[in-house]
Point group: C2
Chain length 198, copies 2
DNA sequence: AACGTAGCGGACCGTGGGTCCGTTTTGCAA
DNA sequence: TTGCAAAACGGACCCACGGTCCGCTACGTT
């Protein structure tokens, strides 16, 4: 097995970089003005280190995102109802989308930076595919949605896009709870209606 | 009146630039590799000209987009059913979204370049606000959607985001007609269901 | 203690958006 | 026509930022 344990200063630096990035994104400035050099400086580390650790900008963003997302993923894969697997599909779809929305609300800048980082569409990201795959599977179990799971999952997830969330929460000052209600309503309408197709 | 007529070479160059950009985007290459210098070269014009005419990259993109979109806008504002104003709301909502989808399918690269051009979220663009305002108004007239028009309009439009369309049509090779059907289905479900709210 | 190597860091590079300013073109008027 | 001021041109130039390179440092192993 080619698994070689990393040197401990390396590990420490990886952490420092993540923390630094986190701090900078929290620090209100709009995501695209947070430069790689900034992050390196904040972490007290050379730029080279940062690129060696994460490959490129979107790699770093992805790692940070993934780390923040982990608890949610956990809860979805093996947690209790309504997020966990032992939940009737309609209710679970609702819970999933609410979880995504809340996550994006809590990590607005980060999510924004990640989806906005040009390199490749957000739709090729692993975490997107995870959400989409899961949501699709859940939706397919709802009567009247058979065959429409794929597109419907995309469409519903699109309603939680980082820049939309940012627009509503940031510019338009829409209240968190109001947004959750609206999304829940929307999802309910989608999952409740009868199919129009053949 | 501060309206001063532009010099005719200026007008000619503006046109040339638009045409050049159009040609380059049609030429298959992914939108972010179409550089300003490329466009200037293709138009047989200096970079300065291009920036003087349109301000910056996203200005140029917006102008081009707006120009292409004009016929659709026209049809929506004063055309015949089902796009025009004399259409029952539910049917019109469907037609509007179908029109947006078709437009994005026909102008994939351009739409992608515009929405992807970092400077400001797509949600502040004039054309987005036009679509959103209109769709919202239409939705509000549908029984059961009162009060939910704003968010619902955002959510439905999100299903036609350029990168999603590109992902489905470009990477996953989803058929145009199939996509239209799926979207129609989706919209129908949203506009048909009963409200969950108070 | 000594040594091989993983890791470091910041000078350096290429690219692409945007600016500047000397030169050319245009349109008006004498 | 010719003269002239203003508008427009164009490409050399600037700079910020992502990403690379390579001589140096410090880890950890024997």
């Amino acid at each position: 097995m080619p698994e070689r344990k990393p040197r401990k200063d390396a590990a420490r630096n990886r952490e420092a970089v993540l923390a630094a990035a986190d701090a900078l994104f929290a620090r209100g400035t709009s995501p695209e003005d947070v430069t790689m050099a900034d992050i390196a400086a904040e972490a007290g580390v050379g730029k080279g280190t940062l690129f060696r650790a994460y490959g490129d900008r979107s790699g770093l963003l992805r790692a940070l995102y993934e780390a923040r997302l982990e608890p949610v993923t956990e809860a979805v894969e093996s947690g209790p109802s309504p997020l966990g697997p032992d939940t009737p599909p309609q209710e679970r779809a609702l819970a999933l989308l609410d979880a995504v929305l809340c996550f994006k609300l809590d990590n607005r800048r980060l999510a924004l930076a990640l989806e906005g980082s040009g390199s490749g569409s957000p739709y090729r990201a692993v975490h997107y595919e995870r959400w989409h795959g899961l949501l699709q599977a859940v939706l397919e179990e709802i009567p009247g949605l058979t065959g429409a799971g794929d597109f419907t999952a995309h469409a519903l997830l699109a309603a939680t896009r980082a820049d939309l969330v940012e627009h509503l929460a940031g510019q338009e000052h829409v209240e968190r709870e109001w947004m959750r209600t609206q999304l829940a309503d929307f999802v309910a309408r989608v999952t409740a209606g009868a199919s129009t197709g053949s």
